[in-house]
Each structure stands twice: as structure tokens, then as C-alpha cells.
């Protein structure tokens, strides 16, 4: 409901001024080395009860610039989550290499954030303590940690819930807390694995807006896995459409719209409509 009213307000603003948007977003920085480079990466998995293997990802190459937002989209089984887990170091790649900040990824690299499909907050810790969990691992001094936690809770509009336990909050708030935790260590790169898929449509739109603004404010390079075409268009500088059997990159599509974006601005936008058709037809394989 809140998302709906917000939408109307923003739309009015747009029709009156139309000046809210400026510049062409934070695209890949020319001249500096990309944040993430994937060079001919592949992944094979063993089938459950045999020695046979199957190729989950075949020869993926991709690079993500600093501050860029890219989305991985595709039908289930295209290996988008596998690719995300390889980039974040949770699983090793079988062939090729992945570089983060110029260093090969071998295990989880430092200074990344991850927003999971479900919030994965510790139910026995308050929101505040959940964020402190990250900083404690980095051995950040207490005073600095407290400041960082307060700052990120404020950024995600959760400062008044610092002492709440996660299960006392709504799903949307829990996922915002998940984002706050992902950002509290000031990561260079933020990975998000279908973070909004478990939320209802209104909460999702509202949260998309919030997340887009927050991420832009932090300047983090972001990789999002999603199966929502509109979500990918709303967030991304580029959309990586993946194909199945074997999982691979089919096409990388630029989104020629400035960031930050407003949902209201995208309504009825012909560029968005064309993009949506293009992505959908690629995902569904009807080109």
C-alpha cells in the first residue's frame, strides 16, 4: 500500500518537473580495471547417484565495472545462482578464472556483501547484533563498529528497530536488515540472490526503490540474480541473459536509462517495453 501511494506521489513530481533524473548513471568506469572479471569460467556438477557429470556452466566470460549494477536473468537451470556463488567464492570454478579487484577468487574474498534469498538473520540476535556479527569478524574496534551499525540501520530505515529480534519484523523489514548487514562492512561488491522473491508485489516494488537508492548512495558494484524481467530492467546498467543446457551467457543487454530510476518514470516507457520484450523472448527462447 505504501508502495502504491509513493508511486503516485513520485509520478506527480515527474509530470510537473521531469528534472528528477540527470546524468547516465554509474556505468562501467573507463580506464580503471573492472571490479569483477570472469574469464572462461565453467562448472560441472556430479549427478546425485551416478558418476556422470553435467555442465552447469560452460565457458562464461563477463566483466563488471566499478559501481556497475548487473543482473543475471534466465530460466531455472541456467546456472545464474551457480555463477553468483562462484563469483562470491562460495563454490570454486572448475575451469577458467574469476578475478575480483584484480585478484583471483579462491575462497570468499574480503570486502564483499551478500543478500540471500531469505534474510538469513540469526534469530537469537537483535538486528544490531546481527550487523555486529560481520564487524566482529573484521575485528573492528567497538566504537567504530557501533557507529557503522547505526549508520547502516539508519540508511535502511531500521534505526528504531535496532533492539528487535528478526522474527518480530515483517518479511520486507527482515530483508532490509539483510541488506544493512551486507553493507555494514562497506563492501566493494554486493551480491544479491533473488532477494525480493519471497515478498509480496507491493513490498517488492517499495523495496526495489529503497535498495536502488541505497546502493547508488554507497557506490557498491552489484550483481543481482533475479527471474523478474521488470526487476532486472529497473535496477541494472546491463542485463546478462543466460541460457540453459548448458548454462551460458546468451546475450548482454544494456539498459539505456539513467540511474537512479523511479518506478513511476518507467511506467509506459517505450524503451522499457522494448527491453522487456527482448529479454523475455531471449529467456523463453523465441528469437
Amino acid at each position: 500500500m505504501k508502495g502504491g501511494s509513493n508511486l503516485v506521489a513520485k509520478h506527480d513530481e515527474h509530470t510537473v518537473g521531469s528534472t528528477a533524473t540527470a546524468g547516465w548513471g554509474a556505468g562501467p568506469d573507463a580506464g580503471t580495471r573492472p571490479r569483477i572479471e570472469i574469464v572462461h569460467a565453467s562448472k560441472r556438477f556430479r549427478r546425485p547417484d551416478s558418476d556422470e557429470t553435467f555442465t552447469a556452466l560452460a565457458d562464461v566470460s563477463l566483466s563488471v565495472g566499478q559501481g556497475e549494477f548487473i543482473s543475471l536473468i534466465g530460466a531455472s537451470g541456467c546456472g545464474k545462482t551457480t555463477l553468483l556463488r562462484m563469483m562470491s567464492g562460495l563454490i570454486p570454478s572448475d575451469g577458467g578464472e574469476i578475478f575480483l579487484n584484480g585478484k583471483p577468487v579462491n575462497g570468499v574474498p574480503p570486502s564483499i556483501g551478500f543478500v540471500f534469498q531469505h534474510p538469513e538473520l540469526l534469530p537469537w540476535r537483535t538486528l544490531e547484533q546481527n550487523l555486529h556479527f560481520v564487524l566482529k569478524q573484521q575485528r573492528m574496534p567497538k566504537a567504530a563498529a557501533a557507529r557503522a551499525v547505526a549508520e547502516k540501520l539508519a540508511l535502511t530505515n531500521l534505526e528504531s528497530f535496532a533492539k528487535y529480534y528478526p522474527q518480530m519484523l515483517s518479511g520486507g523489514m527482515q530483508q532490509r536488515a539483510g541488506l544493512a548487514r551486507a553493507l555494514v562492512g562497506n563492501p566493494d561488491v554486493l551480491f544479491m540472490d533473488e532477494p525480493l522473491s519471497a515478498l509480496d508485489a507491493f513490498t517488492r516494488r517499495q523495496l526495489q526503490q529503497d535498495i536502488a537508492d541505497i546502493i547508488l548512495a554507497t557506490g557498491a558494484t552489484t550483481v543481482l540474480v533475479t527471474h523478474e524481467v521488470d526487476e532486472a530492467i529497473f535496477f541494472s546498467d546491463r542485463i546478462v541473459v543466460m541460457g540453459t543446457a548448458p548454462g551460458r551467457v546468451r546475450e548482454v543487454i544494456e539498459v539505456p536509462l539513467p540511474r537512479p530510476r523511479r518506478h513511476a518514470d518507467l511506467l509506459g516507457n517505450p524503451v522499457v517495453a522494448a527491453l522487456r520484450d527482448r529479454v523475455l523472448s531471449l529467456v523463453l527462447g523465441v528469437t
Binding site: 562470491s88 562460495l90 556483501g113 551478500f114 538469513e120 540469526l122 537469537w124 569478524q137 529480534y165 522474527q167
Partner: protein
């Protein structure tokens, strides 16, 4: 959270509330059949006058049930040989007598002492071994055969051996209690730790959590409900250990009283001693539940989640 009211009172209140809810359901269906009033939100129902009486009745039902049972027992018991079955009034009298003779309290407190010490040792050792088995696959594969074997063995048969090791007395009884109780703590703790959601462990890996941090902040809290389920089973088994050890080894304490009164055909006193030992178990269970609420307020009531 209103910390001021004691947890026990809270439980009682919650029980009453759920009873009231059941009542409300029964009443709506009845009421709509007879007079057909519009359906009332169940939250408003408990205020209706007739219901209070029904709710009061339901609350009294356990007491009424026990009173009827005692009455039947009294009538049947007074018609048969008191050696075969003592009446409730005779058992009550026996309580008064053995208390006056100074037998009851020392026996009760001794049993309680053995139970607390034994369960304490079993708890600490069981949780430590359980966490080790839960986190390390090597430890699990190495130790699991023994745990599975001892869990399935009627270890009470080892009592004579324990006496050979520890002699007759307090130590032996504690040892028997530990021997009986520790396995369910180990099994439940390791099961709880092993069941830590993979996604939470992924989260820990993303933020470079140390093994110490993973155990203390994730695996251990996650396993707490399992641990307490294990401890409850351990308590029941430990109680058997206490009584049997006292009966077989020292002839002191509650087990000693049971042995004494049984051998001398004092049925009323025998029953009084047995009821006292039940009280030890019940008090132990209540203490466990209070501790659980203290250390893990986020977890629901501990239930047996894994094998006994």
C-alpha cells in the same frame, strides 16, 4: 517482554488462553445452530458470561479427574489387603509418618543432589562431545559407533562394574546417573549442530566467520532446543539411574527407602517413597524448562526432536 511475572505463571496463562479459544469455537458453532446470531470474532467471545463458567469448568477438569481417581482408589483399596494396595489416605498418613521420623527430607534432598550433579556432568560432557561430533565429520565417524552402541545398551546392567570402580556411595550413584543420561545429550546436541541450516553457514562464510564464532554464534544457539530435548530425556533416564543406584548400591536415599519399605511389605510407605521420587523428576523438568527460557527465549518449548 514482561520479565516481572514468573515464567510458570506465564505458561499457566497461556494454557488457559488456548483453552478459552477452544471454548470459543465450540460456542460459536452451538450458538449459531440455536439462535443464528451473526458470527462473532473469536477475540470478543471470552467476555460472554456463560463461557466463563464453562472455561472455569475446563480449568478445574484436571483436579476433578484426580479427585475421582483418588476416590475410586480409596474405595477399592479399602476392600483389599493393605499389603497388596494401600489407600490414598494411608499413603498420606505414611508421608506424615516418614516425615516425622526424619526419613523423607534427607532421602529427597539426597536424590535431588545425585540427580543435579549427575545431570550437570552429563550435560556439560554431552554438549561438548555433541558439538565436536556435530562440527567435525572425522569426530562424528570416529565416535558415532560408541554412541550408537551405548545408547542401545541397558547400561543399568553396568552398575556392579561401576561399584567396583568407584566403591559404594555418592560417587557411584552419580556415575550411574551420568552413564545413563549422557548419551541422549550427545546425540541430540550433535544432531542439532549438524542440522544448522546450510544457508546460515554460507552467511558465516561470506563474512569470514571463524570456527569459534560459527560454533558460539550459530551452531550452538541453533542446537539449544535439541539440547534441552536431550536433557529432558537424560533427566528421565538419570532419574532411573539415581533410584536404581540407591536401591542396589548404597541403600540410602529414596531408592534405599523404596528397597526398605518394599522388603518389609510397608506398601503405603513404599508408595509414598515412589511418589516422592516422581516429585524429584517433575521438579527437575520444571527447573530445566526455566533454564531453557533463560538461555533461549527465542526457542519454543523443548520437545523430543530426535531419537530418545
Amino acid at each position: 517482554m514482561s520479565e516481572s511475572s514468573p515464567p510458570l505463571a506465564k505458561t499457566l496463562r497461556r494454557l488457559n488462553m488456548s483453552a478459552a479459544r477452544e471454548d470459543a469455537v465450540a460456542l460459536t458453532s452451538q450458538g449459531s445452530l440455536v439462535t443464528g446470531p451473526p458470527p462473532v470474532p473469536s477475540s470478543e467471545l471470552p467476555r460472554r458470561p456463560g463461557l466463563l463458567r464453562r472455561q472455569g469448568f475446563k480449568r478445574l477438569l484436571p483436579i476433578i479427574s484426580v479427585l475421582i481417581f483418588l476416590a475410586v482408589w480409596q474405595i477399592v483399596g479399602s476392600r483389599i489387603n493393605p499389603i497388596l494396595l494401600a489407600t490414598p489416605s494411608a499413603v498420606g498418613q505414611a508421608f506424615v509418618d516418614i516425615n516425622r521420623e526424619g526419613l523423607l527430607w534427607p532421602a529427597f534432598s539426597r536424590a535431588m543432589e545425585v540427580l543435579v550433579v549427575g545431570l550437570g556432568i552429563a550435560g556439560v560432557a554431552g554438549i561438548a562431545i555433541g558439538v565436536l561430533m556435530g562440527r567435525s565429520d572425522t569426530a562424528y565417524r570416529t565416535l558415532n559407533p560408541y554412541v550408537a552402541f551405548f545408547q542401545a545398551t541397558p547400561l543399568i546392567a553396568l552398575t556392579p562394574l561401576v561399584v567396583i570402580w568407584f566403591g559404594i556411595g555418592f560417587q557411584s550413584e552419580v556415575a550411574v546417573t551420568v552413564l545413563l543420561a549422557v548419551w541422549s545429550v550427545i546425540i541430540n546436541t550433535s544432531e542439532g549442530v549438524r542440522n544448522t541450516p546450510e544457508s546460515l553457514l554460507d552467511m558465516a562464510r561470506i563474512y569470514q566467520a571463524s570456527e569459534r564464532s560459527i560454533i558460539r554464534q550459530i551452531a550452538l544457539p541453533h542446537a539449544i532446543p535439541y539440547m534441552f530435548a536431550g536433557l529432558r530425556i537424560a533427566l528421565a533416564k538419570g532419574m532411573i539411574g539415581v533410584i536404581i543406584a540407591e536401591m542396589d548400591v548404597s541403600l540410602k536415599g529414596l531408592g534405599g527407602l523404596v528397597e526398605d519399605f518394599g522388603n518389609s511389605f510397608q506398601t503405603a510407605r513404599l508408595l509414598a517413597a515412589i511418589i516422592t521420587s516422581s516429585c524429584v523428576g517433575v521438579i527437575g523438568t520444571i527447573i530445566l524448562e526455566l533454564v531453557r527460557r533463560r538461555v533461549a527465549p527465542w526457542a519454543g518449548r523443548s520437545q523430543a526432536k530426535t531419537q530418545a
